[in-house]
């Protein structure tokens, strides 16, 4: 696959750098309460079981992809296998052919590498940003759990990676607005748009 023809789904506002309030750290450097990262070219496959085949599909995925999706609940999500609905999951880092081979005729497997954008946020002020943008109670959201909800009224799937680290999966055509709004909402705390690893 020719990777050079891949273009970012995010608009010109998503340019690495510091935005909003500048707090000064102990060493005098500018500190951002939030760091945000978009990884372009991520492989992403959506799977969904046929009715009644959820358990069988998860067993097949465990066998074929070495991913333990547990009972298929949001709480059983993994960093690279995020539950987005009943018997439905977003897998990252696997190509479509491998997933299709694993899922077989137990469900749907469809490439969403272009269709979903993953934005990752981290930092001490992430709870403040989440309070502005999604209706979920962090106190009742354990690390490792996904939640299908919204980000500023744009439908999305969230995944909590750590105490203050979250992944946000959002439809590509919405991503430009979402990125602009993320920067605006995070400006109160200061936000650093990171450069993705090459």
């Amino acid at each position: 696959m020719d990777q050079s023809v891949i273009r970012s789904p995010l608009g010109p506002s998503w340019t690495p750098g510091h935005y909003g309030t500048v707090a000064t750290g102990d060493d005098g450097s500018a500190e951002a309460g939030i760091r945000a990262l978009h990884t372009p070219g991520l492989l992403l496959v959506e799977i969904a079981a046929l009715p009644g085949k959820g358990e069988a599909m998860r067993a097949a995925v465990k066998k074929g992809l070495k991913l333990d999706l547990g009972d298929g609940s949001p709480a059983a999500s993994l960093p690279n296998a995020v539950c987005s609905g009943p018997d439905r999951c977003l897998l990252t880092g696997f190509d479509l052919a491998a997933v299709k081979a694993a899922v077989g005729d137990l469900g749907l497997a469809v490439d969403q590498s272009s269709g979903r954008v993953r934005l990752s946020i981290d930092g001490a002020d992430v709870p403040g940003l989440l309070a502005k943008s999604c209706p979920l109670d962090l106190a009742k959201w354990p690390v490792g759990m996904s939640q299908a909800s919204h980000f500023l009224h744009i439908g999305c799937t969230w995944y909590r990676r750590s105490e203050t680290g979250f992944d946000l999966y959002i439809g590509r055509s919405f991503a430009r607005s979402a990125a602009e709004w993320l920067i605006e909402s995070a400006a109160e705390f200061g936000v650093e748009i990171l450069v993705p690893d090459a």
Binding site: G85, P86, R88, P135, A148, S149, H150, H153, G155
Partner: protein, 113 residues
């Protein structure tokens, strides 16, 4: 208003789109029911509009995309539970026509054209 999605847990109503009362199952496939017959009229148009506990379809559109049936009291707005729509007509709803709604009849298997 908060709605207890069976998949996602308690979520605000802003994530949901309402469709209306779930008072009758979809009549049997097969196309024999007359358009002005009671089965289709009940399914499409007739609602009791009770001042009591009610069953309403909601779509968790900004969420897990499940269609659910919410149990709500129309006077107090108290929400007492919710069921996946996929389970609703199977479970404790042996209402008229419920059995038919679950599976297609043999007639539908033929292709048109």
């Amino acid at each position: 208003m908060l709605i207890p999605c069976p998949h996602c847990g308690l979520r605000p109503s802003e994530e949901f789109v309402p469709k209306g009362l779930a008072e009758a199952p979809r009549p049997a496939l097969g196309g024999r029911a007359k358009p002005d017959g009671p089965a289709w009229q009940n399914y499409l148009h007739l609602r009791d509009n009770v001042a009591d506990h009610s069953h309403e379809y909601f779509h968790h559109a900004l969420g897990c995309r499940s269609w659910i049936v919410v149990h709500r009291h129309t006077l107090t707005h108290e929400v007492t539970g919710a069921t996946m729509a996929a389970d609703f007509w199977k479970a404790d709803k042996p209402a008229k026509g419920a059995k038919d709604a679950k599976s297609p009849t043999a007639e539908t298997a033929e292709d048109g054209q």
